[in-house]
C-alpha cells in the first residue's frame, strides 16, 4: 500500500466522518418533527425545514466560547476533542463493502473498535469534572456508573460473533457470514444494540444528560462550537454503533448483487438502524440509573452469556 493510497483512504474516511453524522442529525430533526408534530424543526427554509441544520451551524459558530471562571481551563477545553476523536478513529476499521473497501483491515478489529470507542467516555468525565458545576459533576458520575452496566454485555455479545466466525477481524467476520447467522445471533444483536444505546447515552438511557433533571449533565457549561463538537460526537457515535451492529450482526455488505452494490447495503442497514435509534428517542421514557443497572446485570448479561453458550454449541456441532 503506497503512501498516496493511505492518504486517499484516510481522506475518504474523514469525509464519511464529516458527512454521515450530519445526515443522521438532519434525519433526527425531521423524524422527530414529524413523529411529535413539532413545528420548529420542519419550518426553516420551507420544504420540511431543510435549512434547520444550516441555521443550527450558524448559531453554534457565532456563539461566544465561554469557559466558567472556576473551571479547570485546560481540561475543559480538551474534553470535546477527547469525546469526538475516538469515533473518527474507529471508522477506519469498519468495512463498507466487499474486498478492499475498508479504511484499514485490522487483525484484532473487534477489540480495536470496542477499545477505542471506550476512550470517548473520558471526554464526558473530563467535561463534567472540569466545569466546576454540580450538575455537570452529577452527569459525569452517571456516565461512569453507566459504563459498569453496558461494557460487559457489549463485549460478550461481540465475542459471540467473533467465536462464530473464528476471527476477530471485521473483514474476516463478514467473509464468513452466512444468512442463517441472523436468527443464530439475534439475541446477541439485541444485547449489543441495547448496550450500545447506553454507551451513547441515547434515550431511553440518557440519564447522564437528562436535560429535565440535571440540565444536560456534563455539557451544561459548554457553549458554541465546543458544545457543537459534543453533539457531533453523539451523532458520530450513532453512526459507529449502527455500522458496527450492521457489520457484526446484520451481514454488512451481504445482500442481493452485493458484488456491485455492497457498500449500498451497508449504508442502507446502517441508516435503518439509525432510524430505530431516533424512533426510540421519541417513543420511550427515560430510565433511572439503577433501572439500567438492573436491566444490564439481570437481563442483558445472562442473555449475552446464553448467546455465547448457543454459539459454542452450534459451532462445535457443525465443526
Amino acid at each position: 500500500m503506497t503512501l498516496f493510497e493511505v492518504l486517499v483512504r484516510l481522506v475518504l474516511v474523514l469525509l464519511c466522518f464529516l458527512v454521515l453524522p450530519l445526515v443522521i442529525g438532519q434525519t433526527e430533526h425531521k423524524v422527530m418533527g414529524h413523529m411529535q408534530a413539532r413545528v420548529g424543526p420542519i419550518y426553516a427554509g420551507g420544504f420540511h425545514g431543510w435549512a434547520q441544520l444550516v441555521a443550527d451551524g450558524v448559531k453554534f459558530a457565532q456563539k461566544e466560547d465561554v469557559v466558567p471562571a472556576g473551571a479547570d481551563r485546560r481540561v475543559f477545553r480538551l474534553a470535546p476533542a477527547v469525546a469526538l476523536i475516538p469515533y473518527m478513529v474507529v471508522l477506519i476499521a469498519i468495512p463498507l463493502g466487499p474486498g478492499d473497501l475498508v479504511g484499514r483491515s485490522i487483525d484484532a478489529g473487534v477489540f480495536f473498535v470496542l477499545a477505542v470507542m471506550g476512550v470517548g467516555v473520558l471526554g464526558s468525565l473530563m467535561a463534567g469534572w472540569a466545569s466546576a458545576n454540580k450538575f455537570s459533576l452529577l452527569g459525569a458520575l452517571r456516565t461512569a456508573a453507566q459504563l459498569m452496566a453496558y461494557e460487559l454485555p457489549m463485549l460478550l455479545a461481540a465475542a459471540s460473533v467473533a467465536m462464530a466466525a473464528g476471527t476477530l477481524s471485521l473483514t474476516g467476520i463478514l467473509g464468513e457470514w452466512q444468512w442463517w447467522w441472523l436468527p443464530w445471533q439475534a439475541v446477541g444483536a439485541v444485547v449489543f444494540f441495547t448496550a450500545g444505546l447506553a454507551e451513547l447515552q441515547r434515550p431511553p438511557f440518557d440519564m447522564p444528560v437528562a436535560d429535565s433533571e440535571i440540565i444536560f449533565g456534563a455539557y451544561t457549561e459548554y457553549t458554541g462550537l465546543r458544545f457543537a463538537l459534543f453533539l457531533l460526537a453523539e451523532y458520530a457515535g450513532i453512526l459507529v454503533l449502527c455500522a458496527l451492529t450492521t457489520v457484526l450482526f446484520l451481514g454488512g455488505w451481504h445482500g442481493p448483487w452485493s458484488g456491485d452494490v455492497g457498500w449500498l447495503w451497508t449504508l442502507l442497514k446502517t441508516g435503518l438502524l439509525a432510524f430505530v435509534v431516533i424512533w426510540l428517542r421519541v417513543s420511550y421514557p427515560r430510565l433511572r440509573e439503577d433501572q439500567l443497572q438492573k436491566l444490564a446485570w439481570t437481563g442483558l448479561i445472562p442473555l449475552a452469556l446464553g448467546q455465547l453458550v448457543l454459539t459454542g454449541i452450534v459451532r462445535v456441532a457443525t465443526a
Binding site: G70, A71, D72, V75, I106, D107, A108, F111, F112, L114, A115, V116, G118, V119, V121, L122, L125, M126, G128, W129, A130, A132, L137, A140, L141, A144, A145, L147, M148, E151, L155, T167, L168
Partner: protein, 193 residues
Amino acid sequence: MSALAAAADLSGSGGPGFLSPTGAEVAFVLIGLVVLGSALLVVTTKQIVHAALWLVVTLGGLAAEYLLLTAEFIAWVQVLIYIGAVVVLLLFGLMLTRAPIGRSAELDSASKWPALLVAGAAAATLLTVVVDAFHAAYLDLGETGDGSARVTGESLFRVWVLPFEVLSVLLLAALIGAIILSRSRGDDADRRR
C-alpha cells in the same frame, strides 16, 4: 530459564548497530520518554484528577509501545481494560469522594521516600535481570514478530493454559470476596437499624 537462554543465544547473530536506528526504534524511544515523563507527573502533580488523566497518557503510551512491538492484540486489550475501564472507575471513585479543582496541599504522602526507595529498587532489579538475560539480543520484528490474536491465543491456551486457569481462579476469588464485603456491610447497617 531455557527460553531466556535461547533468546540470549540470538545475541550471537548481532543485528544492526545502535548508530543506525530504524524509524520504529526511534519512535519506541520517544514514546518511552513520554511514558516515563507522564508517569512521573502522575506521582508529582498536586491536582488529584490530573494525576488520573496523566495516567491515561502513561497507559496509552504503553499501548503504543506494544503496537510498535507488533503485539497488536495486547495493545488493544490494554486500551480497553486500563483506559476504558480502570481509569474511568478511578475517576468515578475520585469524583464520588473528593475531587477539588486546583491544587490540594495534603496530597503529599509521609511515606514518599520509602516508596521512592522501593520503586527504585524494583526498577533496578528488573533492569538488571532483563539486561543480564538478553544482552544485545536483537529480534527482527519484520521476520519473527507476530502478536496477532491467533498466535497470542494459541500460545495462551496451549502452552500457558495452567497459569491462565490459576489466574482465573484468583480473579473469581477476588470477585466473590468483593461481593461478600459489599453484602456484609449491608447486614451491619440492617443490624444497627
